[in-house]
């Protein structure tokens, strides 16, 4: 049985140029819980996430429970505005955030001393953390994480996952990853396979 605020995915299918990526996929993402989706490369994980975010239309099936809800996401790529600083990128969807709040959050994931540099001058791992903070600090009801910790070294990944888990406590989260340990560390209650 599904709750009123759960997200229900019903018989979703999607094909690109005749190649089926998703076929009759159904699942429920419970309100306030973290759900993990695991599948091999090309298994349709990102397509599923794009459909849920409204960036793709399914060929068949439907999704309920996302109407009017605020979304946030860490995409496979960082999708940062390269000419802007980390603070400006993080505040882009949430201008009400105070600079001090952003700086404190950056410090908690090991981003120190780069707040006024354009992100084009930052390393890949630093950009990834900026993209993660932008998603976590936004005002959202549902959070989509598409391989969010890719490219982070082991020590950084541990601290970033701890921070992410704390910040998205009690929110509906869909985590896509290849790494089962990431799902466990994020406290995923359900693991879905495609």
């Amino acid at each position: 049985m599904t709750g009123a605020m759960d997200i229900e995915i019903m018989q979703i299918s999607k094909a690109f140029e005749g190649k089926k990526v998703l076929e009759g996929f159904s699942a429920v993402l419970p309100q306030g819980k973290t759900t993990c989706v695991m599948a091999p490369s090309g298994g349709g994980k990102t397509t599923l996430m794009r459909i849920l975010m409204g960036l793709e239309r399914p060929d068949a099936g439907q999704v309920t429970g996302l109407e009017g809800r605020r979304l946030s996401a860490v995409f496979q790529e960082d999708r940062l505005i390269e000419s802007l600083t980390p603070v400006s990128n993080i505040r882009l969807p949430t201008p009400s955030l105070r600079r001090e709040e952003v700086l404190a959050a950056m410090e908690s994931v090991g981003l120190r001393g780069c707040e006024d540099q354009p992100v084009r001058e930052l390393s890949g791992g630093m950009c990834r953390r900026v993209a993660i903070l932008r998603a976590l600090m936004a005002e959202y009801d549902v959070l989509f994480l598409d391989e969010p910790f890719k490219g982070l070294d082991a020590a950084t990944k541990t601290s970033v996952i701890q921070d992410a888990k704390r910040r998205c406590q009690g929110r509906t989260v869909l985590l896509i990853t290849h790494d089962r340990s990431e799902a466990d560390a994020m406290g995923a209650e359900r693991i879905l396979s495609l």
Binding site: A73, R79, L92, P93
Partner: protein, 249 residues
């Protein structure tokens, strides 16, 4: 990276010396006036009220034509990028404007209207398709992944324009302006030479032709070059300041 199109003072001086030498060798001012004589004539003209009135007349009309076309071209490109039928509707009209020789337009405008605002209309018609095409290309070149990010986060339209569209479209707009500024002055003055609106630079050039007054012809040509350069510098500087102010907001 080293700029290859930089104008060096020594090179300018070299060509001025060649010009002066050629003029002295020819010995006929009516065929080739010397640069010194041109400067001297320019000095004489610059102290007259008529000179400033003519320069102001052409600057106001050609400049206004450029500014209006730049604004309208940007607006139309923004609409065309969002609404397919707007692009389809505009495509034949703008292609026609670009294909028709400027001289045909000038004559047509002279038949329909008075010559007073001829250079305004010609400048407008020349600039509009250039700015429209460049801005549309810029909008199309925007990073779709960033647009998707803005869509998911529901970034408001104002912030999207400021942080996503302006930085990505601006280089295209600036390139369009650089091309259009050169074209609008050439076409605008050509229109004035043909239509001879009273009190314009074009009228002065036409008079120089009629009286075979080569020093005047060169002096007024120099004035056109200087005004167009000044207009370009001021416009691009103001544009840069505007963008920086937008980024600080």
């Amino acid at each position: 990276m080293r700029k290859h199109n930089r104008i060096r003072a020594w090179a300018v001086l070299f060509w001025l010396v060649v010009w002066q030498a050629a003029s002295m060798a020819l010995g006929k001012e009516i065929l080739l006036v010397s640069p010194l004589k041109v400067l001297s004539r320019l000095g004489e003209l610059a102290v007259t009220a008529e000179f400033w009135s003519s320069a102001g007349f052409s600057l106001a009309r050609i400049g206004a034509g450029f500014l209006l076309a730049a604004a309208l071209g940007t607006l139309l490109a923004a609409l065309a990028s969002r609404i397919r039928w707007v692009e389809e509707l505009l495509a034949p009209a703008l292609m026609t404007i670009q294909s028709i020789p400027v001289a045909s337009f000038i004559i047509l405008v002279l038949i329909w209207f008075s010559s007073k605002n001829l250079s305004f209309l010609i400048s407008f018609l020349i600039v509009l398709p250039v700015i429209y095409a460049n801005v549309l290309r810029g909008v199309r070149a925007t990073d779709t992944r960033l647009m998707e990010m803005a869509q998911v986060f529901r970034v408001p339209a104002g912030r999207r324009i400021r942080y996503l569209y302006v930085p990505q479209v601006l280089p295209f707009f600036q390139a369009g302006c650089a091309v259009a500024l050169g074209l609008c002055w050439k076409a605008g003055i050509a229109a004035e030479v043909i239509g001879m609106p009273q009190g314009s630079i074009g009228e002065k050039l036409q008079q120089a032709k009629v009286y075979l007054d080569t020093p005047d012809l060169f002096a007024w040509t120099l004035v056109i070059v200087l005004i167009s350069l000044l207009f370009e510098k001021v416009f691009l500087a103001l544009l840069g300041r505007g963008v920086r102010a937008l980024e600080r907001m």
